[in-house]
Symmetry: C2
């Protein structure tokens, strides 16, 4: 089983790494014992190398993915094929459910940002579960509605805030989502270009803003590592 190649401490949020099972997942706690047993028989573990594509915008896919390890970049092509990073998904996150449920082609692409392990649930199985277990369905619906709320906030921010404000906010968001280590360094390393595509700006602009933040003593950088020095002030910059 390829999963064992990653039998080391996860860098993120928890240390369960490859031992993480669906049973530990909040959403799947709603399932009955027999549903869980069935699911565990039918779920397939998949391994992706860094930069491999899980699925591509415009294609149909065969089920949903629950991330067990690693980070997945969810993005979408915009004008002239320019990439817009929608989010980074990590352990416990569920991806690709939108198009499965609405029975459409994928509206975004997913690419492994590190080595990634996922559990893949075929869509017929998922639909069966949804059909028969209301509690589970309700949890899934809550998750979707949550994401919709996040999107609405995102729209308002990107439409109204300056690049500087958005950058600060994005950094704080990542801090919240992925956490920091003992030195206050962000627990995820992201290329400048991807940060820019997340904020919705040019790479050079983002770099300039980050430089400003460094000069103002809000951040320190060691290559891709970003260390938070003054979160309070950063929040003020972000205007939240």
């Amino acid at each position: 089983m390829p999963v064992e190649t990653f039998d080391r401490r996860s860098k993120f949020r928890t240390t369960i790494g490859a031992e993480f099972r669906l049973r530990n997942h909040n959403l799947f706690k709603q399932l009955t014992e027999s549903e869980l047993t069935l699911l565990e028989r039918l779920v397939v573990q998949k391994l992706y190398k860094k930069n491999e594509i899980l699925y591509r915008e415009g294609c149909r896919h065969s089920g949903i993915y629950i991330i067990q390890q690693g980070i997945v970049k969810i993005s979408k092509r915009g004008v002239n094929g320019k990439l817009q990073v929608l989010r980074f998904a990590q352990i416990e996150d569920i991806i690709a459910y939108r198009s499965i449920i609405s029975n459409e082609v994928a509206c975004s692409s997913a690419r492994a940002y590190s080595e990634v392990v996922v559990s893949h649930i075929p869509y017929t199985i998922l639909l069966d579960l949804l059909k028969q277990n209301w509690k589970f369905t309700h949890e899934i619906m809550k998750m979707i509605c949550n994401e919709l709320g996040t999107s609405n906030t995102f729209i308002t921010n990107i439409a109204q805030k300056s690049v500087r404000e958005r950058t600060a906010e994005m950094l704080l968001f990542l801090k919240d989502e992925f956490g920091v280590d003992a030195c206050n360094a962000l627990q995820i390393t992201i290329r400048r270009e991807d940060l820019a595509n997340m904020v919705g700006t040019a790479t050079e602009s983002l770099i300039r803003i980050i430089s400003e933040f460094r000069n103002e003593g809000l951040l320190a950088c060691q290559r891709r590592k970003i260390i938070f020095l003054n979160t309070k002030q950063l929040k003020r910059v972000a205007n939240i």
Copy 2:
């Protein structure tokens, strides 16, 4: 019954006006006869005058609204209280479901943009229906996922396109959503300020762009009425 005050032809999409009933609604077709009968007993018709507020961002509300007549502006406050228009909802649209399902406070506000008639379904009733009727639930989920897809596209557009492109696209979107009359005039009249808040720009900028479009022979305007003269070219401007 106050609904009768609006017993005239709806200006939009259909002419069923106040006679429109839940039974005619695509989503509610999934319900059984007994569920429908029950629902019709429990649903309350409500009337809102122009500019009245249906619900306010940050408040809890008691159920979902199905629009029977008129137009509702869905918006959200951003930086310094600046309004972001998220969408205009019209006949047959369902609003306020997000916060009901995820059991959170509303993340947006709704205001009557014209005289509005809605059916209000208390949230306990809605949850009961969802619980017992999978087909209905599935339709609702599809609707939500659809909206999520729209949001993602919206994010990419607003992040990457110029104000000119976004304006063109927004006009085409409104054309698609609300239709045009025999003269090719948009079947919804919107204040410049709201258009700007939808595109995510300053009112003056939006006006300038619309003037450009007029000079280029793409549009004609008679006060708030917007007439499409060259949709093909407008699409090219929108870059889709």
